[in-house]
C-alpha cells in the first residue's frame, strides 16, 4: 500500500510538471533582435529623423514577437523577430550614415573655409 502511494505521488509530480511545461510560453531567441535595437539606440538613431522610425518599428516588432510567443506560436514569433532585427540593423546603418554625411559636409566646409581664408579659388576643390 505504501509503495502504491509513492508511485502515485511520483506520477502526480510528473504529470504536474508536464502540465506546467505545456502551459508556459516558448523560449525565444531574441538576442539578435535586442542586440540590433541596443546598437541602434547607442548610435543615436532616436535623434536621427530617418532612423528613428525603424528603431521604433523594431521595438514594436520585438513586443509583437513576445506577444505571439506568449500565445504559444513560437514559429511566428521568431519570424517576427526577424523583422525586429532587420529594422534595428537598418536604424543603425541610417544613423551612422547620417553621421558620416555630416562628417563629409564638415570636411568639405573645412576645405572651402581654408581656401577662402587663403584666397585660393574654390573651383579647384572639384578637380
Amino acid at each position: 500500500m505504501k509503495q502504491i502511494n509513492m508511485v502515485m505521488l511520483a506520477g502526480s509530480v510528473l504529470l504536474a510538471a508536464v502540465i506546467a511545461g505545456c502551459g508556459s510560453s516558448p523560449v525565444l531567441n531574441k538576442e539578435a533582435s535586442t542586440s540590433a535595437i541596443r546598437a541602434a539606440e547607442e548610435s543615436g538613431a532616436s535623434k536621427v529623423p530617418g532612423a528613428s522610425l525603424y528603431l521604433q518599428l523594431a521595438k514594436e516588432e520585438l513586443e509583437n514577437a513576445k506577444g505571439i510567443a506568449a500565445k504559444g506560436d513560437k514559429e511566428q514569433a521568431e519570424s517576427m523577430l526577424l523583422r525586429a532585427q532587420a529594422d534595428g540593423e537598418l536604424a543603425v546603418a541610417l544613423s551612422r550614415g547620417d553621421a558620416d554625411k555630416k562628417e563629409a559636409t564638415e570636411a568639405i566646409e573645412r576645405v572651402r573655409q581654408l581656401r577662402q581664408d587663403n584666397q585660393i579659388p574654390q573651383e579647384r576643390k572639384n578637380q
Partner: protein, 307 residues
C-alpha cells in the same frame, strides 16, 4: 462541352491562379526597394550588401511560391525590403566616406599649396626687400655723393672767393702803397739851407748822354718848388759820375748833365743867375765804385747852397 463552357472554366482557373499569385505588400515593397538599390550606387560601392538583399529577396520569392499567404512569406519579404534599404543606406555611407576622404585629401593638398604659396611669397618679399635695400643704399650713396660734391664746390667757391678777396686786397694794398709812395715822393720838400749840400737822387740821363729821362721830372719838380719857395737862394749845381770811362770824358759829361738840370729849371722860370754849374767827374764819389749799387749812388746831381 460548348466553347463558352471552356472559356468560363479557363477564366475561373485564371482568376484562381491570379488570386493565388497576388504578392503581399511586403514582397512588392521588397522588389521595388531592391530595384531602386541596384539602380543606385550600391552595386558599385557595396556589392556585398546588395548581394545579401538579393539573396533575401530570392528567399522571400521562394517562400511566396511555396506558400504565398504565409506569415513567413510576408516576414521574409519584409526582411528583404529592409536588406535592400540597408544596402542603399550603406552605399550612401560609403559615398559619404569617399567624399570625406577626398575632402581630407583636398585639405592636405590645399595646405601644401598654401605652404608653397607662402614660401614663394616670402621669397618674393625677401627679394623685394633686398632690392629695396640696395636701391635705398644706392640712393643714400648718391645723396651723399651729391652732398659731398656740393660741399666741395662750396669749399672751392669759398676758397676762390677768399683767393680773389685776398688778391684784391693785396692789389689794393699794393696800389695804395704805390699811391702813398708817389704821394710821399711828390710831397717831399727839398730844404735848402746855406752851406749845405742836397743830393738829388732820381735824376737820370740817357746812357752816356746829358739828356734827362722822363722819370727825372718828379725830382726836378721838387727842386723847382724848393727854388720857388726860397727865391733868395743861389745854388751850385754839380754833376758827378762813377769811375767808368776816362777822367776827361767824365768831367765833360758831368758838366753837361749839371747844365741840363739848370736848363730845365730855367725853362720852368727859375732865374739863370741863381744857378751855376760845375762838373766834378768821378772825383767825389759817395760810395764804392766796385759794385753796381755803389756806382749808381755815385752818378748824381747835387745842389750846394751858396747864399
Amino acid at each position: 462541352m460548348k466553347p463558352i463552357t471552356y472559356l468560363i472554366i479557363i477564366a475561373c482557373a485564371g482568376l484562381l491562379v491570379s488570386c493565388a499569385s497576388v504578392p503581399p505588400p511586403e514582397l512588392i515593397n521588397a522588389r521595388q526597394a531592391y530595384q531602386h538599390a541596384s539602380a543606385g550606387q550600391a552595386a558599385q560601392l557595396v556589392p556585398a550588401e546588395l548581394h545579401k538583399a538579393q539573396v533575401a529577396l530570392a528567399i522571400a520569392e521562394k517562400s511566396f511560391q511555396d506558400d504565398p499567404k504565409s506569415f513567413s512569406t510576408r516576414d521574409l519579404a519584409y526582411v528583404a525590403d529592409r536588406k535592400a534599404k540597408m544596402a542603399e543606406a550603406l552605399a550612401m555611407t560609403a559615398a559619404g566616406n569617399a567624399t570625406t576622404a577626398k575632402a581630407n585629401v583636398d585639405y592636405q593638398v590645399t595646405q601644401t599649396e598654401i605652404v608653397k604659396n607662402t614660401k614663394e611669397d616670402l621669397a618674393v618679399s625677401e627679394r623685394n626687400g633686398v632690392l629695396k635695400s640696395e636701391q635705398l643704399a644706392a640712393e643714400q650713396k648718391a645723396g651723399l655723393d651729391a652732398e659731398t660734391r656740393r660741399l666741395k664746390q662750396q669749399a672751392d667757391a669759398d676758397a676762390e672767393a677768399q683767393r680773389v678777396k685776398e688778391s684784391t686786397e693785396a692789389e689794393a694794398r699794393r696800389v695804395k702803397d704805390l699811391a702813398d709812395a708817389e704821394a710821399r715822393r711828390l710831397t717831399t720838400i727839398i730844404i735848402l739851407e746855406k752851406g749845405k749840400k742836397v743830393v738829388l737822387r732820381g735824376i737820370n740821363f740817357e746812357f752816356n748822354k746829358a739828356t734827362l729821362t722822363n722819370e727825372s721830372e718828379t725830382i726836378l719838380m721838387r727842386a723847382y718848388n724848393a727854388m720857388v719857395l726860397n727865391p733868395d737862394v743861389q745854388v751850385e749845381i754839380s754833376g758827378h759820375t762813377d769811375n767808368v770811362g776816362n777822367q776827361e770824358h767824365n768831367q765833360i759829361l758831368s758838366l753837361k748833365r749839371a747844365q741840363a738840370v739848370k736848363n730845365w729849371l730855367v725853362q720852368k722860370g727859375i732865374a739863370s743867375n741863381r744857378m751855376k754849374t760845375v762838373g766834378k767827374g768821378k772825383n767825389e764819389p759817395m760810395s764804392s765804385n766796385e759794385t753796381d749799387e755803389g756806382r749808381a749812388e755815385n752818378r748824381r746831381i747835387e745842389f750846394y747852397v751858396q747864399k
